[in-house]
């Protein structure tokens, strides 16, 4: 998996103190990554570590100065350029030592983990936004229904007004009948799929064994022992990637469900708005008629 990327992304290096103002020190990699990336800190980072600058309110600075137990697979920034262009400048992959290739494998694995984690982060952000959008759509649906109820109320009031206008006029004048092209229907409730509306639907799915089983703690959160060689480190990274991809898969499934729900809700809104438009159009026609009658009465 880690070898599939041709041109790895550049790893952003903090260039100033400003890049350290994140209150959560959100390092995308876990604890392990910190250990063998500690030696590739830029000078500004080293200075900050020495000064003990720490703006994360949850950070006690306990692991700020942790050093790698084995620097054999640590990466110097000089090596980065080699890795970035797949050793093109130093004789290609074939001419590298085993140790160099092992380091390269770890670097690639780490980088893939970062990419997958970033994808997960983006998916989480999309999910947050989608949740807000769904709430707004729900609110919009309520507003359409309320507007339609008001239109129905106007219909009742207008009917009363039309009766009064009909009874006005001279003794010998022809009785006025308001023109009506169609009845006002009021809000038409378009039901959802009844199965999905049921509160106990999730429980039923759970009993059937359809919902994903609760995920246990990430294996990496408390690894049994420190990875000592490149192979173990790559395995650790692969496990991280598997976890992240599993989470990403679940998230994308949920996003699909959200998109479907958004679509069906917007469709419902369209239908409701069509009904509302018809009713308002009819009301408008009747108001015009009532106005004409009023004008005629005043003109007499």
């Amino acid at each position: 998996m880690f070898g599939s990327k041709k041109s790895p992304l550049k790893v952003a290096k903090p260039s100033s103190v400003e890049s350290w103002t994140n209150p959560f020190d959100s390092n995308d990699e876990g604890m392990d990554t910190k250990k063998y990336s500690s030696s590739r800190k830029t000078s500004s980072e080293r200075a900050l570590t020495t000064l003990g600058v720490n703006t994360n309110p949850f950070d006690d600075g306990t692991d700020a100065n942790k050093k790698s137990s084995s620097t054999l697979y640590g990466f110097q920034s000089a090596n980065w350029n080699k890795y970035k262009n797949d050793f093109r400048d130093s004789g290609g992959l074939e001419n590298q030592s085993v140790q160099e290739l092992e380091s390269y494998a770890v670097y690639k694995a780490e980088e893939t983990t970062n990419s997958v984690t970033n994808c997960l982060k983006i998916a989480e952000n999309i999910r947050e936004e989608a949740t807000q959008t769904l709430v707004t759509l729900h609110q919009q649906g309520e507003q359409i229904t309320r507007s339609h109820h008001v239109a129905a109320d106007i219909d009742h009031d207008l009917t009363r007004g039309e009766k009064l206008l009909g009874s006005l006029g001279g003794l010998f004048s022809k009785t006025w009948k308001p023109k009506k092209t169609r009845a006002i229907t009021g809000p038409v409730i378009v039901g959802d799929d009844p199965v999905r509306r049921k509160g106990n639907h999730l429980e039923q799915r759970e009993k059937l064994g359809l919902t994903s089983a609760p995920k246990g703690q990430s294996k990496l959160r408390s690894p049994p022992q420190e990875p000592t060689n490149a192979f173990e480190k790559v395995e650790v990274e692969k496990n991280k990637q598997d976890d992240a991809l599993s989470d990403l898969s679940d998230l994308l499934g949920e996003l699909k469900g959200m998109a479907v729900d958004m679509g069906s809700e917007i469709e419902r809104h369209n239908k409701a708005l069509n009904h509302l438009y018809d009713d308002v159009d009819e009301l408008n026609f009747r108001v015009i008629g009532a106005n004409q009658r009023g004008r005629r009465l005043l003109g007499k």
């Binding site: 390092n27 949850f58 509160g199 919902t211």
Partner: protein, 289 residues
């Protein structure tokens, strides 16, 4: 600008004259109302907000004399909008008058809307206790009118501020109630884990590990899918860290969660409270040993 001001004063003087003159009861107030309206608009154009506000109040009293309650309420709202720029207390007072009139004439959804506006004004002034009181009233009115989404928004504000004021139980009840309601709705069900996370954080602030564990079980019964979420794992891990009195683990757990979903300021504040309690406990333990 000066031109608008002169015109506004002219209209206002004419209106005052109309009111003090003899004339047919109805038409006198109607004419005065018309002139006050023109005067207030001119004051607004001259950006003389206080004067515009006071003129709208005079307009409202004219409408009340004419028994036009809806127009009177609307005039109070306009006055509040003007005072908003200079004098928050006056603005609140005008909105309060508008709310009372809307309640009288049975326009409860309008009343709810302006109660929410009062709450927002108090919130902007950092008067949290008053903001909570008005958000609660607003939620109540919205619920009566079955405007559930707006009611829930107001309730969430109440929960948020209650937690800040360390009234955690109240917050927990609100968040759990909203989660329960959301579960039965196709569109709102996706927000459930967010509400349960908020409730869980409030439980953590109470500091009772057994209560936290019970709450997590309750949330699982409420929403069987919750146990598979990162939010559940966060709460469970924090509970474990509190139980073990391990500040390091607590920090790591939060950092890991934050790296994917950045925590907002409200969650950060509450989790810092939890951490401070945990640290204090740790120091206490060290002192004993």
């Amino acid at each position: 600008m000066g031109d608008h001001l002169a015109r506004a004063e002219d209209f206002e003087n004419k209106a005052e004259k109309k009111l003090s003159s003899w004339g047919l009861f109805g038409s006198k107030f109607e004419d005065a109302a018309d002139l006050f309206d023109k005067s207030a608009n001119s004051y607004k154009l001259a950006k003389s907000w206080d004067k515009a506000g006071s003129t709208y109040i005079k307009l409202a009293s004219c409408h009340l004399k004419l028994e036009s309650k809806h127009e009177a309420a609307q005039a109070y709202v306009d006055a509040a909008r003007c005072y908003k720029k200079t004098n928050i207390n006056e603005s609140v007072s005008c909105l309060d008058n508008a709310v009372n009139i809307f309640c009288e004439i049975g326009r409860l959804s309008m009343a709810a809307r302006y109660l929410k506006e009062i709450a927002e004004l108090y919130e902007s002034e950092q008067n949290i206790s008053q903001a909570v009181a008005y958000y609660e009233k607003s939620a109540d009115f919205f619920e009566n009118e079955e405007v559930n989404t707006s009611a829930n928004q107001c309730k969430q504000k109440v929960a948020q501020f209650s937690a800040q004021l360390e009234q955690y139980q109240r917050s927990i009840e609100i968040y759990e109630d909203i989660a329960r309601q959301s579960l039965s709705n196709t569109l709102l069900k996706y927000g459930v884990k967010g509400h349960l996370l908020n409730a869980g954080i409030c439980e953590l602030c109470k500091g009772d590990v057994i209560a936290i564990t019970n709450a997590l079980e309750r949330y699982q019964d409420l929403d069987p899918t919750f146990s598979g979420t990162r939010e559940y794992r966060l709460l469970a891990d924090i509970a474990a860290a509190i139980d073990e009195e391990d500040v390091g683990k607590f920090t790591e757990v939060i950092k890991e969660f934050d790296s994917l979903t950045p925590l907002d300021s409200w969650k950060t504040t509450l989790l810092l409270r939890v951490k401070d309690k945990l640290k204090a406990k740790e120091i206490e333990e060290d002192d004993l040993t």
